[in-house]
Symmetry: C2
Subunit: 494 residues, 2 copies
């Protein structure tokens, strides 16, 4: 056995154990009896301990030094294993365990604070988490990550190759066009009606399954369950999705299902030769989000697809109080300013991200104190959204991310939207009659194209590279903005 | 940290990882998408590899040599860790991996053979498995296990302290009384009617949940799902049960639920101080089966409890075509000779076990060749049951056990019945008005007694010892036989 073979055999077991940890997480959010939470914490800690030991196993360095990759995929696998090893090795063991301990408690404290609208209850913990993440960033910078920038060193974990400077420049180009579009829409005098009524859980779930099928979700390698916060989980031949049901708002269930189908389709679409290797998962958060977003928005909220969905809604729920497919398209795509990121429409969504990105950079740089975050958040929200935050749960306490130490994660959501815009442009060029398919609910033709263009590569190419290869052009924000302006000009008669 | 503390901290992680492996097994039988089977095999192999490495970790011997137990529970934990280490260390690594490989394939081959009634398809694999188990038994005997007897060395894995000689003597005393009882019942001229009709799945499952609740199943630490072959899974604060539904036979669902509640109640009833230690699970297969059997039979099939169940059946299903609670009691307890062990009534069940016990001892001793097993099985069945086996799927191909190498496991089923008989005698003495509770569906009073007498101890005492402590007398087959003779004399007017 060569050093490369030994390394890959060892890595294969590590990937299998990582899949197990993921499945435990799925079980925790979908199936686990509530009384098992404490024990599950111990189980998760045990498997994470095994994974950490394997990812920093002393033999890895020897194998990496001696291994000769037989091909490009092998070379990329070696890069990824080495990168994980070096990043993990940068973080002192006591910092890693202290971060694990603090963030596991912080999530509960954040949830309590949000429920009680009590910023003060969360601030000491937030300050602690930020301190730990600043220490981690400094350790990573000292280890050569992030090119000397603390925020970039954290960002690198979610979107390798992205930089705060590049994102800031991109957001600088996006903001004026999004703000202008928002102003024109809100001043248009057009007000699509929201959907009202009661939509029974069982029927929503039945239709959600039909939508997953319409997008080509492979039920033989996945399943759909309920969860408080929808997510997808697993890679290879076991990529499960979840959704939630609000009986007054079926779009919540239906579009979160389509979104998660996008994530799962990416995992299920990866070439099986990469399974159980470092290339066997989606390559970054941004590329992952590009799949969920193009499924949800550019495809799922298109005029053609909503035309088909309108008919299915009436089949399932009877008269839904919407006059026809055009009105339904407008209802699905209503633009309404709101406090909550996860409920935002396509126009407002990236404005939410931009403010989080700016605020978290200031927090990590130490230029914004946690105690000043609420004021900074509320001022920025008033400036960008033209409204005053009415309560902390609708403001700085709304997202779980910072409590669990996810700094550098938010911008990958917008990057996903930007990538989705690029892929959508390329997809339309490649399949000129796409709308004819979508109008019949045949969204799987898009899945087929995305699988061949993006999904099958898994981790083979770097994030921006896989998008560029798929599109034939370097990714920029322009296609997303062009798409949004054209779509909403039609709906709002701008 | 003392050697004992180090050892117990290490063991705690091992126990947590073992729980994870168990949860994966649960997922595989209840939730896993069918296309994920191959990948799951790799995941299971990875976690089993981690567990094997930990159970034979070289540091264990050092710690065990230096550790001083602070109390009796600690001393017992050291015994159990040492025993697992020594048993595992006896088996050469290549024999262990070859057995894992062969048995994982053998289960599929057995299933094919059973589906096609094709003994020849199974024989080469069976011979291979028996060869591997004989090698394992020889290695264990050489390592001092089993007191020189190969079969005892295997049996010791499932029922520490039991011996083939002791079981054979016990079965020798049981057989005449069971055969005599069987003859009197079949000659009685009394023929309780079977239940007929259609019983909708949803209603069966609803009633199954009510039954689990009646026995005190802690839903905050468990759940009920469907599986092809019902089982229970997990320890500590997460002990889940499964059942199956046959719409023409609700007893299948209802009594398998009660049976699995018995297993899960044992796990959930263990004193939390033993959680995540070697004492944190049921102590043996026999004691485990005593809990499932006393729940299912002595309690669940009692006149008092079936009287309550009769009312619940009518609430749920309407008129079930049975005249009254007495007739229903007879219907639940119908004695019918049949080919299949898992469908056997209380009178026939142990006769099934005795023939498997005798046959597998001959196979392991090398006195019976696999090629001669079918003839031996059919001859013995004709002698004991007075009928000719009509097809191999109803004969030697009916059970999965031998295909996966479970030799020495079958007798623990009967031992469980014998222990259940003893515990039932003690329970009746301790709670004279038990029937008054059962007649109201209050089976949890029995759970409370069993928890205090048996379940809470987990692995603290050796199997026969925990039964003797609970009953106040050394376990024998007499209480079971007395109970069966009295119960069926009433039903069949003997």
């Amino acid at each position: 056995m060569t050093a490369f073979d030994r390394l890959m055999a060892f890595q294969r077991e590590t990937e299998a154990l990582a899949q197990i940890a993921g499945r435990l997480g799925w079980d925790q959010e979908t199936m686990m009896p509530r009384g098992a939470a404490r024990q599950r914490g111990e189980e998760m800690a045990a498997i994470e301990g095994v994974l950490h030991a394997r990812r920093t196993d002393p033999r890895l360095r020897d194998w990496l030094a001696k291994a000769e990759a037989p091909d490009a995929a092998g070379a990329r696998a070696l890069d990824l294993i080495g990168r994980t090893l070096e990043r993990t090795a940068c973080i002192p063991a006591d910092l890693a365990s202290e971060t694990a301990r603090v963030t596991s408690l912080a999530q509960g404290i954040w949830a309590e604070a949000r429920a009680r609208d009590d910023v003060a209850h969360f601030l000491p913990t937030l300050a602690q988490v930020i301190g730990l993440k600043r220490d981690a960033a400094a350790a990573l910078v000292a280890g050569g990550f992030g090119g000397g920038d603390a925020y970039d060193a954290l960002l690198d974990d979610y979107e390798p190759g992205a930089t705060a400077a590049g994102l800031a420049a991109m957001f600088g180009r996006m903001r004026p066009r999004l703000v202008a579009l928002r102003e024109r829409i809100l001043g248009s005098g057009v007000h699509p009606a929201p959907l009202t009524g009661h939509f029974a859980e069982g029927r929503q779930l039945g239709l959600a399954r039909d939508l997953a099928t319409a997008f080509g979700y492979d039920w033989s390698r996945g399943r759909l369950d309920l969860a408080v916060h929808p997510f997808s989980s697993g890679s290879g031949d076991d990529a499960r999705i979840t959704t939630r049901v609000v009986e007054g708002d079926p779009f919540n269930c239906l579009y979160s299902t389509i979104h998660e189908v996008g994530h799962a389709a990416y995992e299920l679409g990866i070439d099986p030769i990469h399974a159980m290797t470092p290339l066997g998962q989606g390559v970054s958060m941004g590329v992952h989000e590009s799949q969920s977003r193009i499924y949800e928005n550019q495809l799922g909220r298109s005029a053609a697809f909503t035309g088909w969905l309108y008919g299915r809604m009436r089949d399932v729920f009877g008269d839904i109080g919407v006059a026809g497919p055009e009105a339904f398209f407008a209802t699905v795509n209503r633009v309404t300013p709101g406090f909550i990121r996860t409920e935002a429409d396509e126009v407002h969504y990236n404005l939410h991200i931009m403010m989080r990105f700016d605020l978290e950079r200031e927090l990590i740089a130490g230029r914004l104190a946690p105690a000043d975050l609420e004021d900074a958040w509320n001022a920025r929200f008033a400036a960008d959204f033209g409204a005053a935050v009415d309560r902390p749960a609708h403001g700085m306490l709304q997202d779980v991310h910072w409590s669990v130490g996810l700094f550098g994660y938010f911008p990958t959501y917008s990057l996903g939207n930007v990538y989705a815009g690029c892929l959508h442009k390329a997809l339309r060029a490649a399949i000129p009659d796409l709308d004819a398919h979508l109008a019949k609910g045949e969204a799987r033709v898009a899945t087929d194209w995305l699988r061949a263009a993006v999904q099958r590569h898994g981790g083979l190419y770097r994030p921006a590279e896989v998008i560029e290869r798929a599109c034939g052009f370097a990714p920029t924000e322009a296609p997303l903005l062009d798409y949004l302006e054209a779509k909403f000009a039609g709906i709002y008669r701008l």
